[in-house]
């Protein structure tokens, strides 16, 4: 282990992300969430047709965008891991999967709450609902594989993530032929105060995404550093 290759050494000794910058952004994004909630309730006017329940939209849509961002990170990380087989890409892929599941869960919770009022049902088998659900379920499967599969879990999880991303396109297309009731993309048609609230909320979510991503990658690096230390301890016979 003392003869470790230069790459391994440098990975081990890399600083674990700059603490102060990360903390600043974390605090900032916390404050922005408070401000965003304030804007949602007091700045943006109440929508004429749907009324109060429309306010879910300001958090629902940014969550959905963040979910796709997470899926993008997961796709890039997983493909790169399958090609390069370095732990760094595996950690990026895993972080992307986790963030996509997190924001996907927010989408899948906030959506039905709105749907109950607007459609009269918590769930309808619409294109985006169904494809989001299947996507999130497949990514949850990735996490389960990672947890249960044992030694080869990383490879299998990365492979499954690639399938999940391609598959969501198929599900989207299939349900689209079948039926569709999701409201069309309406950001461009919003009243100014609504637009301001929406974009502020989107910015808040975007920063939150990158804060969480950085944190998750940091945790991942710490985890593998810990694993390496443990391995070294075992090899030197100091461990039980």
């Amino acid at each position: 282990m003392s003869q470790a290759s230069p790459q391994v050494r440098s990975d081990e000794e890399r600083p674990l992300g700059s603490g102060p910058v990360l903390s600043t952004f974390a605090v900032l994004v916390g404050l922005m969430f408070v401000a965003a909630a304030y804007m949602v309730f007091f700045h943006a006017p109440t929508e004429k047709v749907m009324g109060f329940v429309q306010k879910i939209f300001y958090f629902h849509v940014p969550s959905a965008w963040n979910m796709f961002l997470g899926v993008g990170v997961a796709a890039v990380g997983s493909v790169m891991y399958l090609v390069k087989r370095t732990d760094k890409w595996d950690r990026i892929g895993d972080a992307g999967v986790e963030l996509a599941v997190l924001f996907g869960a927010m989408v899948l919770i906030s959506g039905p709450l709105w749907g109950r009022k607007a459609w009269g049902a918590f769930w309808v088998w619409d294109v985006r609902l169904t494809s989001s659900l299947v996507l999130v379920l497949t990514l949850v499967a990735c996490k389960m594989v990672r947890g249960y599969a044992g030694a080869e879990a990383k490879k299998i999880a990365a492979g499954l993530a690639v399938f999940a991303v391609i598959n969501s396109a198929f599900v989207y297309y299939s349900v689209d032929i079948w039926r569709g009731t999701h409201p069309p993309k309406l950001v461009a048609t919003l009243a100014p105060a609504m637009k301001q609230t929406f974009w502020f909320s989107t910015l808040t979510f975007l920063i939150a995404f990158f804060v969480l991503l950085t944190l998750r990658l940091r945790t991942g690096r710490l985890q593998s550093a810990l694993d390496r230390l443990h391995l070294r301890l075992t090899e030197s016979g100091l461990d039980d």
Partner: protein
Amino acid sequence: MNVVLRQALIICAKDLRMELRSREVVLAMAYFGILVVLIFSFAFPVFSGAVSREQVVAGILWISITFAGTLGLQRAFEREREGDCIRALLLSPVPRPSIFLGKVFGMLLFMGVLEAVVLPAIFLFFNVSLPLDGFLVLALTIALGTVGYAVVGTLFAASLLRARSKDILLTIMLFPIILPVLMAGVKATSLILLPDGSQAELWVWVKVLATFDIIFTIVSLWIFEILVLD
């Protein structure tokens, strides 16, 4: 009796403790339950109005293919693991895609037998008549769906060869990915069985199946190399 019961409770407590630590069984079961709901909602699409008998028959056909297929997939690779046959296969001077495609062809044959048994049974029990000219299209639909299923299923089963809890994981990985096949298969089949089913719509679903097959075969061949080789 008291002793028997007390010991049983101790053993139960042990199981509970193990489960609380790994949370493997309960999570997997809950997840599988959700998947089954999803699968059935597409096999029997009550959400798009009243479900006709033809649609129910189509749903039952594809669900039986989906579920019975996993039995085949589990066994196909269990045999390779016993006696470490897969190592011999990988060491032999055979191009890697041949190994994968060979396993897929085997799966296709097994599933073909399964379908040859299930299909007449369904027509018999549900008293549905198949228009004669519809038989070829139905055969094509089932064949395309089976290819997609076998390709993805074989890849996942192969990747889980040396994994822990592979039986649980195979269905958990396979079912959500296979949903488009199920959806397209059910839709196409019910359009074939319905006397006034739209031909144009039928061919759209057949094309969805064909596209799924092509794309996932390419991706699977690529991933197989990486997943199984070392």
